[in-house]
Symmetry: C2
Subunit: 228 residues, 2 copies
């Protein structure tokens, strides 16, 4: 019996993601993957050119989609404020990571290792990510919308906050009974990040007495612009 080629490939990939996520790449055997996928062991080498090829294909798949999301927001954002751009970005990336939660988790973990693959991925994708984020932050600073502050730390913290719930889901569920998988998570966490933008990233109105004076009546419309 000969199933569809694409179908078995997907079955292998799904099984691999699940196992890599909970056990790590090195901690997972091709036999486990084949068994979980319900296919023959040799098909992994046939379709992906071996265990290592499977890993690279999965990681690349994740980062391609990840960077694409950033580029889309970067180029086609219709928000007038930079903070608005960022909020669109936050929403897009949270949804993307949540949809690919196990994949994201194991990719992020794997990226903490030392290997030539990791270094290649960093110079390919993460340098690009850094460029987009820092350009956006700088834009916000130039417009006096953001407070001037160390841009490296700012970028790193933003990325880290975006990554946190998907790198440590077991920690969140075991210690805090928070599940990043559910739909109910994204909303409050997004709100939390918006609050961080307001308090830490944006220019505080206190430093500009004039703006502070007119702030109250304008409050509604400004909020509208930024989205809820």
């Amino acid at each position: 019996m000969k199933a569809d080629k694409a179908e078995t490939k997907i079955k292998i990939a799904e099984a691999a993601i699940s196992l890599f996520t909970s056990q790590g790449f090195k901690g997972t055997t091709v036999r486990q993957i084949a068994k979980k996928a319900g296919v023959n062991l040799a098909l992994i080498s046939y379709h992906f050119g071996g265990k290592k090829g499977l890993l690279e294909e999965l990681i690349t798949l994740f980062f391609e989609g990840y960077i694409r999301r950033i580029e889309i927001v970067y180029h086609t954002s219709n928000s007038s404020s930079v903070k608005g751009n960022f909020i669109e970005l936050v929403e897009s990336l949270l949804i993307y990571q949540q949809k690919n939660l196990p994949l994201a988790r194991f990719v992020y973990r794997e990226m903490t290792l030392d290997s030539t693959l990791v270094r290649e991925l960093m110079s390919t994708y993460l340098v690009k990510e850094k460029y987009f984020l820092q350009t956006m932050f700088e834009k916000g600073m130039k417009k006096k919308e953001f407070r001037r502050q160390p841009i490296d730390f700012l970028t790193i913290q933003f990325k880290d906050m975006m990554m946190l719930p998907f790198l440590h889901p077991l920690y969140l569920s075991e210690v805090y009974q928070i599940t990043a998988e559910t739909e109910t998570f994204i909303k409050p966490y997004k709100k939390w990040m918006v609050n961080w933008f307001d308090k830490c990233v944006c220019q505080t109105e206190r430093k500009n007495p004039l703006l502070s004076a007119v702030q109250a009546p304008l409050f509604g419309s400004i909020q509208e612009k930024w989205g809820s």
Copy 2:
């Protein structure tokens, strides 16, 4: 020739930490450890009861020191403000992690896996850590020193910010040319975290006009209390 027992054990532990950190636990073989430590292969099983025992001993060692640092600040802090307590904690934990940077990195990575060991460690150490942190945050809120906000997110973000530079040092050095190993790192990063406390955690003075009015002349002494 027979070396000192403790000496051999330390050599093995150091080699293991180095290799686990860059290659991961599963990615490291006992032969590599023995070769790097310059000792016989069987000594690892002899001294640590096998590779797994070595892992558990190292992780436990790290968390024991980690929790002790928290407890010390928690019980013996001489700061009058809760924010002052936290700043002492930040400094103590940053130094501890920096002194054990490779160990911290591989422990944090290993904690993102699914295993009974990880779950045990979480319920043993991370639940305790959560208790201390949340109690401190609640104290700050009761004293109106901290703004009322979701305490789970607050605690998680604090822990995450404390962990960030030590879980992703390769990312920081490859993409940002930041090295968490150097002494020059702690100071600006600590400052960054203090700023986060001021902006995001603490009650803003704007909400209390009276305090705001007397703030300027008192500025010096308050700053003194909190430490630089």
